[in-house]
Symmetry: C2
Subunit: 256 residues, 2 copies
Amino acid sequence: MAKIIAIANQKGGVGKTTTAVNLGASLAVAEKKTLIIDVDPQGNTTTGLGIERASVQHSLYQVLIGEVSLAATVLKTELACLSVAPSTKHLTGAEIELVTTERRESRLKEALRSIEQSFDYVLLDCPPSLGILTLNALTAAKSLLVPLQCEYYALEGLTSLLETLKLVQRGFNPELYLEGILLTMFDSRNRLSHQVAEEVRAHFPDRIFRAVIYRNVRLSESPSHGKPALLYDAHSSGAQNYLELAKEIIRNGEEN
Amino acid sequence: MAKIIAIANQKGGVGKTTTAVNLGASLAVAEKKTLIIDVDPQGNTTTGLGIERASVQHSLYQVLIGEVSLAATVLKTELACLSVAPSTKHLTGAEIELVTTERRESRLKEALRSIEQSFDYVLLDCPPSLGILTLNALTAAKSLLVPLQCEYYALEGLTSLLETLKLVQRGFNPELYLEGILLTMFDSRNRLSHQVAEEVRAHFPDRIFRAVIYRNVRLSESPSHGKPALLYDAHSSGAQNYLELAKEIIRNGEEN
Ligand SMILES: Nc1ncnc2c1ncn2[C@@H]1O[C@H](COP(=O)(O)OP(=O)(O)OP(=O)(O)O)[C@@H](O)[C@H]1O
Ligand SMILES: Nc1ncnc2c1ncn2[C@@H]1O[C@H](COP(=O)(O)OP(=O)(O)OP(=O)(O)O)[C@@H](O)[C@H]1O
Ligand SMILES: [Mg+2]
Ligand SMILES: [Mg+2]
């Protein structure tokens, strides 16, 4: 059974896609068969892995409305153990179209049943909102990974995200647990980064990853080459930080 | 008649709220009566201006479902010419509740009719999505200001945002025009910033503001004090950049 992790935070630009792409690549080089599903209509995970959205045959939108199976959308990447289920701009319509349908929040969960045994890890890259697409991901997932940018507005949004987690645990997915809070874009020269980190460590002591992702220009350059940082500049601190995160998640999984 | 400007971009974390708060403050010190409406359920504009969300009596959610007038929500700020219409977490429900109602996209436009003559400028801070809340803002606005972070993923999203602009112009709001594209978080030491700026200038030569917002830590610190950068550190490059932007927008308005 695959470990399905939703990467979600309604605050925009906190590093959800960067985490999905680079954690996925790091798990793949550790020989874990990994699938990343792009649940965001923006499709940044899709292009961040070098796939041209216009040439995609089948995408997540068609899966959610029941037209194709999830397996039909899965594409290979440059890494042997890494695959991706892409999204196209049609996915924007899903938010409105699914509102009035049956089992609207369980579409992704049902679609995953038929393929999850082919993978060790499935990562779900979510859009910056708490709408029906994110709800589908939280219902399908076994755990939630929260990227948290070390900035004031991002910290502010954490409480409402954890409230949403509780609502989903009470309703659609009682088994869902918090995989951890990941500090991203940490800049050690910047007092604000340290303040945010201290505040999170004080409020959520045992829920924050030891691995920290530092601000690193290689992480923002690599998407323009359609590659994870590991393939663009393996020695960069960004690539190394995500390898550390992958090791920590694999270790946590073995202990549970 | 007020100049109503929607500040929108579905890409997350590109500086929409930072632009709404700091452009609003800069227009206010230029003696322009300015209202900022927080159309984002995250409520970052509300707290960025020092308002405690839990103590808000009437908010935008109640306006959109027709319970109160927009005027009843307007609060004063530390700047005489700056007011804010706050949002609370109830606004999250509006996306789903409005889907099946009449004139769902024109609620904000209608609500603005009764108060727009009391202001020179109204700024609409949008959430990071192209859902019903952003659609309400684009239908109510006279123009669209697009903050564009100088990063690859942000550049990628620009085309689909400009497509949405065309759709809204053809359907709900034929008068809507592009006020301009604003480069944000520009870091002159970073090659990627220059590459993105060159690409935007090449593709959209006459639609990009001369004013550029440089990455400046004061802009990310000021929200934790509930103040725009002008009141937190008026000499910072961030505060100065937004004063320049305000001057450029006022000048553009006088020439048209
Ligand atoms: N550690 C880092 N160092 C430097 N840049 C980073 C880092 N992490 C992410 N970035 C850059 O910051 C921007 C925002 O990151 P990203 O797009 O991954 O966030 P997101 O949460 O997925 O955004 P959205 O809410 O739009 O989905 C991107 O341009 C990305 O390249
Ligand atoms: N020029 C700048 N220099 C440094 N930091 C900035 C700058 N502009 C914005 N920031 C910071 O970057 C983060 C993202 O900005 P902001 O929240 O304004 O973007 P947004 O587009 O409103 O995000 P969302 O999509 O979540 O609504 C914030 O923490 C903000 O303080
Ligand atoms: Mg993303
Ligand atoms: Mg915002």
